[in-house]
Symmetry: C2
Subunit: 406 residues, 2 copies
């Protein structure tokens, strides 16, 4: 029941990247659940990870390895998150890296592990290491589409995006995949996203790129306010496009690549919300008129996390009082209620902190019955603004999350 989520486009290969996917029977039989992304020598990587203190074992290992070496391969499993598993969980992640390193003839520190699925249970390490040969045999630069399916959990559709543009006189490609549908309120990253480009990018510039792009894309979506233990977003740069190395953030090439990457990140982030658990609506929350971006974000999140607001969206009920109540309880320094304005899909509902004089319930019903909702709240305090994307709260969300482990 994804909301206006387009079928996958043809995904352009990225020179230097090959991907293999297999069914390793990790948690369920006969579904693709193990992915290896191989990177050519010299590939640089930058990543952002969850800020949840209970971050998963693979996040700890991937962070360590990224600090030591450029990656030669990423290994991703679904089924189990390998979170809340303590030191034994870290050893499991390392054992998988060891085995893949052995088979590829590289160093263990050149492998980055990622997991997603149920929290708190150990990985079936042997089933995973047994599956690696199948992934390696399947390695292909056109492997992106299969991998997009191979990293899914409660997702109903695979998510991927691709773009090619000229930068500095050479064609540059960016292609990426992402997964995630619930436990979505990324903080410095999303569930799992793997994006590669053949652009030649210096390490510092790549670090800046992934942070800048994630800040306005993956870090601006929320399904349920629950920041996952495994959120990871990795940007790989193989350099195979040739041309001059992109290193100066103020340079034209960097800005062009930042725009490309940000657009692609945003497409993937929005795809996660369009496929959010039980979603029937895609909701863009714009909060402007705050003193700072943090203040706007606090208000936007309070609205986007309110169960009462989310059920009103599900019911197409223009119960705007619930949105106003959420604004009123947001933890910001000050608020002059008389300066608050609210629009839904262009209909002015609240002006001066109360119902707009010319607003009619009929207008509200029409606005709320759309699948695509644009909610705009102006706090009337300052010049900062922020945009967040979220979904509604439906019977299906409860069903999925009450039945997830059964």
């Amino acid at each position: 029941m994804a909301v206006n989520l387009q079928p996958l486009p043809d995904l352009l290969p990225v020179a230097g990247i090959r991907i293999g996917t297999t069914a390793a029977d990790i948690r369920r039989q006969n579904r693709r659940d193990l992915v290896v992304i191989e990177c050519a020598a010299g590939t640089r990587a930058a990543a952002v990870f969850t800020q949840n203190r209970f971050c998963a074992a693979p996040v700890l290992v991937a962070r360590d390895h990224l600090a030591l070496a450029g990656p030669r391969a990423l290994v991703i499993n679904t089924g189990f998150a390998n979170a809340g598993t303590g030191e034994p969980g870290r050893q499991d992640a390392l054992a998988i890296c060891d085995e893949l390193a052995r088979q590829l003839g590289v160093d263990t520190t050149e492998i980055l592990p990622f997991s997603t699925g149920v929290i708190g249970e150990r990985l079936p390490v042997e089933r995973i290491t047994s599956g690696l040969a199948g992934c390696i045999a399947a390695l292909d630069e056109r492997g992106w589409t299969e991998a997009a399916a191979g990293i899914m959990t409660t997702d109903t559709q695979p998510k991927a995006a691709t773009v090619r543009e000229m930068i500095g006189g050479v064609p540059v490609t960016v292609t990426g995949i992402a997964k995630g549908a619930g436990m979505i309120c990324p903080n410095m990253a999303t569930m799992l996203a793997f994006i590669a480009t053949d652009a030649p990018v210096g390490q510092a510039a790549l670090d800046a790129l992934v942070r800048s792009a994630a800040r306005v894309s993956f870090n601006r979506i929320t399904v349920d306010g629950d920041t996952s233990t495994n959120d990871s977003c990795v940007l790989l740069a193989t350099g195979r496009a040739g041309g001059e190395t992109i290193g100066q953030p103020e340079g034209q090439a960097y800005q062009a690549l930042l725009q490309m990457v940000t657009r692609l990140f945003t497409t993937l982030a929005q795809a996660i919300i369009r496929d959010a658990e039980g979603a029937t609506k895609f909701i863009t929350v714009d909060v402007c008129g705050g003193h700072t971006e943090e203040e706007c974000l606090e208000v936007a999140h309070t609205i986007a996390h309110s169960p009462l607001v989310k059920t009103a969206f599900f019911a197409s009920d223009p119960n705007w009082g619930r949105i106003l109540a959420a604004v009123g309880r947001a933890r910001i320094g000050q608020l002059d209620v008389a300066s608050v304005t609210m629009h839904i899909n262009g209909v002015c509902i609240v002006r001066g902190g109360a119902r707009a004089p010319d607003y009619s319930e009929e207008q509200g019903k029409v606005a709320m019955s759309q699948q695509e909702i644009a909610l705009k709240v102006d706090l009337g305090l300052g010049a900062a603004s922020v945009r967040v994307w979220t979904s509604d709260l439906s019977h299906e969300y409860v069903r999925i999350n009450a039945e997830y482990r059964s």
Copy 2:
């Protein structure tokens, strides 16, 4: 589908308090929706109100009137909250006070107005003022039970409590009613609660009493994290029990009354959670081992508001990883994950930040399948602790809140 909510006890009258309830057809036909609580001359009142910046018009008026005079009557309507209605809404509340004051022969400032129901729509003032005569005709010191029903909105059962004990050689009575089932995350008060005692209490002591008791009762419950615009909790003291005026917070009489009032507040607060929208479980969240009470409260609220935790409770699924993930994302200063311990109904599930070695899924299932759940999280950082009560997130919650206005 309230969870182990007992039928109302016989409610002891409080000398000096008479209550009248009527059906004024405010939003629906033929249901009690208007209540007048008359107080004898000399009655003192103390109250705590919502901290939501969009507080309702009656809250503004009640706060103003409380500062000017002791109350001679409270008037409470359900159906419409008179919130988000701006200055016209304030005039509506004042018009109702004016009319009741005229009929009782007292001053407008001696009337305290309260409303609950849909936010954002104007009150039908004429239907309410027309109903006042019916309330006055029905005034009776045994009117508590009817009033408990008369202030309900989505509540499935009326909520009231009563207690009598000897204080300072005289029998003292405390009786109270409350309403609330959704939009519950009180901050300095709950939805609506009206409690009266015949104890003779000085004004400063009464103010201290209501704050102290609300802090550990109404301010420690949450259904959905949505702080209402209308939360009000009023404690009336008629002084008719006789005996010495209770004025010294350190005195024995004050402490005895504080215990009585706190017990009664807690019973009413728990009744709200037992009758929470769609609740199938009554969940006590104890967080200890924090540096400060605020830190513990932040963790307890993050757990209690997590849709993933709440749906796991609904499903009786010991998916403790979701609870751990909520602890990990709580906005507290520091957390050593290796020092975190978690118990559910006495079963140790997490020790040292990971699954307890002797924990079995079977034990978890038995613990989670109870209607009464005691969740204990020890952060292992300090000596502070806090207790919060909450409910689960069920299909019924979504149904109620998606259909509330239809």
